[in-house]
Symmetry: C2
Subunit: 274 residues, 2 copies
């Protein structure tokens, strides 16, 4: 497999960054010594103004975008909130997002939902909040573009290819991957992407979100709330994820391997051009 960075990719993983992986020595099944690199996993504490919100376990790249995207995806930071600064302290492993006026995020800290793939998950407030009146654009999704994306993403140099045990996500426009993020948690990766979109003013309506993670309810909801009409994964589905996607009109495509995939929701957007 020839490894190359697609020219349209504005953000790419940096497997050469020594802070993201660690060299370890172990033994294989024969007892022979083996040297390999494994991904880092370190705490990052996110503050919204003066309030500590959460400590995320992350590989550690793009802390500002992770904080912005996390707060946005949790509904603690609205599009209308004016962010006056995002300050990251590398020593303290703390990132502080400052807004012009205090937000109402305290209200979100009420209920706790443990979500799929989690040690213990907390969804601040109602998971479904904001989905009721959501209408996603009818952006066409060409099968030929999905093939191109699958091949382009799999050939892009990544921590996954170097060290494994990591999730990736990629924002795409038609056949072109635009920004590729990785993290130990699949949601961290998507939150970094959301933070980057907010910081760069990238529109969602004409995009496709690719993830290596499963199409669970929380991933479907997150993608829909981000306003992205199509969610694509190489992994599988959960029934509630599919049900919610059908309710909100999100196109979900899973088990995408090479040229093969399954579409279980929003097939009306898919253009079978191959």
């Amino acid at each position: 497999m020839s490894v190359q960075i697609p020219p349209t990719l504005r953000v790419v993983p940096d497997p050469a960054d020594p802070r993201l992986t660690r060299a370890v020595t172990g033994r294989d099944q024969t007892g022979a010594a083996v040297d390999l690199r494994v991904v880092e996993e370190r705490p990052l504490t996110i503050y919204l103004n003066s309030r500590e919100i959460v400590t995320a376990m992350t590989i550690g790249d793009h802390p500002e975008w992770l904080a912005l995207g996390f707060l946005g995806n949790q509904g603690m930071l609205r599009a209308s909130d004016v962010v006056t600064g995002v300050d990251y302290d590398d020593e303290l492993q703390v990132v502080v997002v400052r807004t012009e006026v205090e937000t109402d995020h305290e209200a979100k800290l009420a209920r706790a939902t443990r979500t799929s793939g989690c040690a213990v998950g907390t969804v601040f407030g109602d998971m479904m909040e904001g989905l009721e009146n959501l209408t996603l654009p009818d952006t066409p999704l060409r099968v030929s573009d999905l093939r191109a994306l699958s091949h382009a993403i799999n050939r892009t140099p990544s921590l996954y290819l170097q060290a494994g045990a990591i999730h990736g996500t990629c924002l795409c426009a038609g056949p072109d991957p635009l920004a590729y993020f990785e993290d130990v948690g699949r949601h961290n990766a998507v939150d970094k992407l959301a933070g980057w979109m907010r910081a760069e003013g990238v529109t969602a309506a004409d995009k496709t979100l690719y993830t290596t993670g499963r199409l669970t309810s929380e991933m479907v909801i997150k993608c829909a709330l981000m306003g992205i009409p199509a969610l694509v994964s190489r992994s599988g589905f959960t029934a509630w994820g599919v049900e919610i996607a059908q309710q909100v009109g999100l196109t979900v495509i899973g088990r995408m391997k090479g040229d093969r995939f399954l579409c279980l929701s929003g097939e009306e957007r898919v253009v079978w051009d191959v």
Copy 2:
């Protein structure tokens, strides 16, 4: 691959249980209609006495064991706490664990850590609590047994083989799988296993814990706190997971596929008998 249930397995997944998967219809890459089954994902709210602790997203089997194991693994329920009852209400999707005396779990609700593979994770209290004085037994781990387990587990009928998009965990003794649990969240599966061990009075010191999930810090800590000296996965490692395993003397074996694996901690327990 011949599918068969090992005779030593006392608890096995039930892919035939209609409540655990749902029939859906979709389209493949050619636009052809495809019928398949996808795993369910439903909320289960766990109470400890009169207090609502968390709502877990789960496939829904073994709710009593999930609640017992979750509370135990979160340190909200100690071995010394006398459980007077575990009541599950199928309609309300609520399970209540009752103890003779109120526990001190409120103290655990203080800090929040978002953990790997999570939407948002909350580790109640200090993740490392209880690890300081932990000593794990020197139970030998034979490479021949690991091979036998890998083959036995992969051949056992499961939701994974039927529907995918699910994690599994299996408690093993030497070459024998004893109890196999699955769930949308890898930690749910381990928590069900822990609840079953508590309910059945199964010892941990002579066992091996197999998981399909990655060997992250939280999984390593959970296994160590359960008192199981060896953690085996077909997935990969994170640096902090390996570091903690080395600190507490837990044997971690990852990337186990067929006869191959990597051991990055606790190799002194491994008997290279093949």
